[in-house]
């Protein structure tokens, strides 16, 4: 096939073949990362992503893991190349970084490892992966310096040699260094697979064909995106909503205006100034969110590469909560991302109501537990457990919203009870759908989740739930979804802004919001298998 590949270097078929190979590579690197990892957040919850980038740092292909992680990938290579001379890059160099302002990251726990791929001595591409390290807990969030160790893109390996001093510096700043070290090794394993597979692809098809196909795939994604946008009616639609969570008492208003003109789409955001709380979004977090939701509505099959961004213009006031600048705190930015995705859905619903869902639960509800082990073989060691909890999906024009799922910018698994209780001094007492939490409608919104944890040892807790003051909106007469909330056992010291302590034997209940309904509830057809969904 090599002969054929050279003669028709850029025919649509070769491009399709190489596109399939690139997506196999990123999926395979992702699998290696999960299987070799140690922390529950990666090995069971799969809070990690992998991607391939071209030499200039444009996304060639991102694995179908977590959309927000694209935010950390977008600027990583450009920032790296600003700090490091490309001519000095060597095979086996591995760069580590996480910073929101110097490393393209969106929050500090997402640590990126990037390795240049060389073919015949020339830099041709990058394999990049990100793992959310559950660390940097029990911190303050007035600005980024309080949120954890900031790492610009620097070498963790130089020509295959581990830079032990760099690694030591990182590990010393982590609260669970053993887990960090093991997960970094898993990230190395993933990159090794990426380099090897990409080199094999070049050996098979010729490096020029692969690179030219990479370029063509960007054009292809752009064409598909343009075709999709052109199918929307021209016009301009504004939608506003509020952001609320436990960090503050008054909801923050924000809005977007989506404008379709021919085959181009513009989004203009209105948002207040960044605040001294962890909810600020970096520009790359905003872009990753926009790309995710626009792709979902316009054409979910568009390849997740840099080409899809070309017909999209994003404008947001610099220094605002949706486009923050140094030194804004960003740790909980995913909550804001979720709301922004729904905001865009709300604007597009006015143009193409048949293509969108009602508002999802708009949240990525989080519970973080940490403490010092009081018994067992690891007594005295520090433990951190982070989990994110799904909620209701928005009702669709043709179907109910999905119950108890992760929406939008995130998509992590739960941790099996039988894994959770073995790893941490916690007992899970309930895990269920919240009756009545799906917004009413011709199609009802998805139900939120209830999770009840009992501590078996004293621990610190941070809960982050959203839609605690506002509600997820319904569409075309559909009702709002249920609220997010949390509660603790009677006698437990009151939590402040979601922060508190559980003593051994006390419990915490987290309830995540439901999604909005679609269409008037009177039009709802009887569902044979359904039990009453009204509040019990």
């Amino acid at each position: 096939m090599t002969a054929q590949a050279t003669t028709h270097a850029l025919d649509p078929i070769t491009v399709e073949v190489i596109g399939a190979a690139l997506s196999s590579i990123v999926e395979e690197t992702g699998e290696a990362l999960v299987r070799a990892s140690y922390s529950t957040n990666i090995k069971e919850r799969r809070d990690c992503s992998t991607a391939l980038f071209d030499r200039q740092g444009r996304t060639l292909c991102q694995a179908e893991h977590i959309p927000i992680h694209l935010g950390s990938f977008l600027d990583f290579i450009p920032m790296l190349l600003r700090d490091h001379d490309e001519a000095e890059l060597r095979p086996g160099d591995v760069f580590v970084g996480n910073d929101a302002y110097r490393g393209g990251g969106t929050h500090l726990p997402d640590i990126v490892l990037a390795e240049p791929i060389f073919v015949d001595g020339a830099l041709v591409a990058w394999t990049v992966n990100l793992a959310h390290h559950s660390d940097f807990v029990d911190r303050a969030h007035a600005h980024i310096y309080q949120e954890g160790l900031r790492i610009p893109p620097i070498r963790l390996y130089r020509a295959g040699e581990l830079q032990k001093d760099v690694q030591e510096l990182i590990l010393l700043n982590c609260q669970v260094p053993r887990e960090r070290l093991s997960d970094l090794r898993a990230q190395m394993a993933a990159n090794r697979v990426g380099v090897q597979r990409f080199q094999e692809l070049c050996a098979r098809h010729g490096v020029e064909t692969v690179l030219a196909s990479g370029e063509a795939l960007l054009d292809y994604a752009e064409r598909k995106m343009r075709a999709g946008i052109a199918a929307l009616p021209d016009g301009s639609w504004r939608f506003e909503d509020v952001f609320d969570n436990l960090d503050f008492d008054t909801p923050i208003p924000f809005a977007v205006t989506v404008t379709v003109a021919g085959d181009e789409l513009a989004l203009d955001f209105e948002a207040p100034e960044q605040i001294r709380a962890p909810i600020n979004m970096t520009r790359t977090a905003l872009l990753a969110t926009v790309y995710y939701i626009v792709k979902s509505v316009i054409d979910p099959t568009v390849l997740p590469n840099a080409g899809l961004a070309r017909p999209i213009t994003v404008r947001a006031p610099e220094g605002s909560i949706v486009n923050c600048k140094h030194p804004a705190a960003v740790n909980g930015r995913v909550q804001t991302c979720q709301r922004v995705a729904d905001l865009i859905l709300g604007a597009l619903a006015q143009a193409v109501p048949e293509r969108v869902s009602a508002c999802t639960n708009s949240a990525c509800s989080v519970a973080v537990f940490s403490g010092t082990r009081q018994s067992g073989p690891d007594a005295g060691s520090y433990w951190v457990y982070l989990e994110t909890i799904g909620g209701g999906g928005g009702a669709r024009p043709n179907a109910d919203g999905l119950d108890g799922i992760h929406v939008h910018a995130t998509n992590t698994s739960n941790l099996p009870v039988e894994a959770l209780e073995g790893e941490y001094p916690l007992i899970l007492e309930r895990y269920e759908l919240v009756d009545g939490s799906g917004g009413s409608g011709r199609h009802r919104g998805g139900m939120g989740l209830r999770r009840v944890y009992r501590a078996t040892e004293d621990c610190m807790v941070h809960v982050d739930v959203s839609r605690n003051m506002s509600r997820s909106w319904g569409l075309l007469g559909g009702g709002p979804g249920g609220a997010g909330s949390y509660a603790t056992s009677p006698g437990c010291a009151p939590f402040k802004n979601g922060y508190g302590t559980l003593c051994a034997g006390e419990w915490l209940e987290v309830v995540t919001p439901g999604g909005g309904g679609y269409g008037p509830a009177e039009e709802r057809a009887a569902h044979p298998d359904e039990q009453p969904i009204a509040a019990e």
Partner: protein, 699 residues
């Protein structure tokens, strides 16, 4: 009368394999004495498949095996592969199931792992929940991870739930409590009570079917088993008397997803282990043929009309997996690692909104079929591309049983070529390339994604369309050998004559791999082996026909995914532990590029694979003769190849005239009733002593 002779019957001479598919029921008969192989085909009877099966066996034995008035009397063994479980799962026609779970976890079946079914598609649906919420009962009970009871089981609540389920017309009950794999006492008690209250209902407790950690996957497995239980029971209870009426003198066997066979009574209790019963036999046949032909490392490629199944075997061993998602449902059961992709001869080609050519997963099916059938279809399929390229006979196919209309296929592809701004022949070849890329992706999943380099494997092609696409697929993956067995179309039925009795046993017990735990490790392994020994007894397998392979799934303490490491034969000693440790380090290095000698290794699941060796069909061997293949030539036609960029005169060979030793070179096409084999320019072909076509690609 069925006795316990299980394939070791002293009187019979015929071994019979029956593969019951959607359209045809294939019967493959093998005479142990003479080595003769005979084939019989009847139409399937989907309303009650047992009718077609009995008819096929009866007719086949009478017509082809000289069975006379008592056709089944000479049968020494009967093996059967069925898609009844798969079909019930795909079409959601399983039983009405009730579920008993730990209090607080009623919705786990719906929540699953809380991920959404598609990352970007807002309209994607989750797989349908197999038990409605009203039939999921929470019971007061709770075990701890240690196996200690935290809340005792409320037996009255179980009884009450059972009565409610009975009143609701529930036919099958799944029981899944937290930590039942550590301490099954509550599940056992609940099962006993439900059995009392609901006599005749199908019951499945999670510790019986999947005694491993991760509650959702265990729950899903138990639920699917209950969902399929009554279906499989009905199926077997219809088939059994029909075979008895025929006078079958031996107990019939059913294939499982792991490629092994078990007795009907066993199969009826574990239908979840039969969801890959159909394709697994093809893999088993490929394994046996590969072994005979001297190929240990094989990737199988079974391509039909709508989908292709691929599997990998290294060192002559099939790849097993203990967990997989089948039709949307996680299943923990021993299965051959078979991967299916929606790419077949009927896959439809289209141009998407970005201007790229896509093929499948939509299929033209049997009706209207490809454009060239002339039944009104207008969207070109893979078959149409092959007709346009004249790789397939452009006038008639299926041994002349069906006329084709090449002109219609040409029109459809020309229209597409205009849109793409390409030449029609390039587009026809392009359809082949794209479908090849899709199939290559499936093969990468089972090879590269599991750490195997496909270039070190031979590709064995079967199914109606496999031999047509095999060389292109091999080229895409850099593979250099393709094997086309003598009867690619009936390989699954044949596989039933080549498979051993087989059962898998396992126990999960987290134990650090340390000398201090030698006793625990040895005891656990012995316990699993004892189960296997009990099975040998039940199946009355003679001592010299028993084989056990032992493995331990291990990981570094802290990881959650294990690597399965074989245990050396003999007693478990400190030497064994050292070998396990070394084996694990090597495997970890191979998979992930590193190992960590100072880390603690955990033994997680102890496994024994028990085999009862049966007398298998011997593929008749023929001594190689002359290399000259010209006697098999039946004509020639022009075929378009990307290698030449034009129509090139191509020699046509008849498969039934090819004989061992013959050699010829591409461009060539081999035609036979059930398939067509493409041998492009530069590829050479030879026939081995068991009539396989061996195709060698230039490196």
């Amino acid at each position: 009368m069925m006795d316990g002779s299980q394939g070791f019957g002293p009187n019979g001479t015929w071994r019979v394999g029956v593969d019951s598919g959607g359209t045809f029921t294939d019967v493959c008969m093998f005479n142990e004495a003479s080595g003769e192989i005979a084939v019989w085909k009847v139409s399937s009877t989907p309303d009650d498949p047992s009718r077609g099966i009995a008819q096929g066996v009866e007719e086949g034995m009478r017509e082809r095996a000289g069975g006379g008035d008592d056709p089944a009397a000479a049968i020494a063994y009967l093996g059967h592969g069925t898609t009844v479980a798969t079909n019930a799962l795909i079409t959601h026609r399983g039983a009405k199931v009730g579920l008993l779970t730990t209090g607080g976890f009623r919705d786990l079946l719906e929540i699953g792992r809380q991920k959404r079914p598609d990352l970007y598609d807002l309209f994607a649906e989750k797989p349908r929940t197999l038990v409605p919420r009203a039939l999921r009962f929470e019971l007061p009970e709770r075990m701890l991870r240690s196996g200690e009871v935290s809340v005792p089981l409320d037996e009255d609540a179980v009884r009450e739930a059972a009565r409610a389920m009975k009143a609701a017309g529930v036919e099958a009950v799944a029981i899944c409590f937290l930590y039942a794999f550590v301490n099954p006492a509550h599940e056992q008690a609940a099962r006993r009570i439900v059995a009392e209250e609901m006599p005749g209902a199908f019951l499945c407790a999670s510790h019986e079917i999947a005694p491993e950690f991760r509650e959702f996957e265990r729950l899903s497995t138990a639920t699917v088993n209950a969902y399929l239980g009554p279906i499989m029971h009905r199926y077997i209870s219809r088939l059994t008397p029909r075979l008895e009426e025929l006078g079958l003198p031996v107990a019939p066997h059913l294939t499982q997803s792991n490629g092994g066979v078990v007795r009907f009574e066993v199969a009826a209790e574990t239908p979840v282990r039969a969801v890959l019963s159909g394709p697994s036999t093809g893999v088993v046949a490929a394994q046996a043929i590969g072994a005979r032909a001297g190929f240990d490392d094989i990737i199988t490629f079974d391509m039909g009309g709508t989908s292709s199944d691929v599997a990998l075997m290294a060192g002559g061993e099939t790849t097993q997996t203990n967990e997989s998602v089948v039709h949307g449902y996680p299943i923990k059961a021993p299965m051959l690692d078979i991967h299916t992709v929606g790419a077949g001869g009927g896959s439809i080609a289209s141009i998407d909104s970005g201007g790229l050519l896509k093929v499948g997963p939509e299929s033209a099916g049997a009706d209207p079929g490809p454009v060239c059938y002339g039944r009104g279809a207008t969207e070109p399929t893979v078959t149409d591309a092959n007709i346009v390229l004249q790789v397939l006979n452009p006038v008639e196919i299926l041994d002349g049983r069906m006329k084709v209309h090449r002109n219609l296929a040409v029109e459809a592809i020309e229209k597409m070529a205009k849109t793409l701004g390409m030449q029609s022949m390039d587009v026809a070849q392009g359809i082949i390339s794209v479908v090849t890329a899709n199939m290559a992706k499936a093969i990468r999943v089972i090879s590269v994604q599991r750490g195997h380099d496909p270039r070190n494997y031979a590709l064995m092609a079967f199914g109606g369309a496999g031999p047509l696409h095999a060389v292109r697929l091999a080229q895409e993956l850099g593979m250099s050998t393709v094997i086309v067995p003598r009867n690619p179309g009936i390989l699954c039925a044949m596989g039933l004559l080549l498979t051993d009795l087989r059962a898998d046993f396992s126990a999960t017990r987290l134990t650090p791999l340390e000398a201090g735990n030698l006793d625990v490790i040895a005891d656990t392994m012995a316990r699993v082996e004892a189960e296997a020994a009990g099975w040998f007894e039940t199946e009355t397998i003679p001592a010299d026909k028993r084989r056990i392979t032992r493995r331990i799934d291990m990981r570094y303490d802290g990881q959650n995914y294990e690597l399965s490491i074989p245990l050396p034969d003999g007693p478990v000693t400190e030497v064994t532990l050292a070998a396990l440790k070394e084996g694990f380090a090597e495997a970890h290095k191979r998979m992930y590029g590193f190992d960590v000698p100072e880390e603690r290794i955990l033994c997680v699941t102890f496994r024994a694979e028990a085999m009862g060796l049966v007398q298998k069909a011997e593929l008749p061997e023929r001594a190689p003769g002359d290399t000259d293949a010209s006697g098999a030539i039946i004509g020639s036609r022009e075929v378009w190849y990307p290698e030449t960029g034009s129509f090139t005169q191509t020699t046509l060979y008849a498969r039934d005239r090819l004989a061992p030793g013959m050699r010829f070179a591409g461009p060539a096409i081999v035609e036979q009733m059930d398939t067509t084999t493409l041998i492009p320019p530069g590829v050479s072909a030879s026939v081995d002593t068991i009539d396989n076509l061996i195709l060698e690609l230039p490196r």
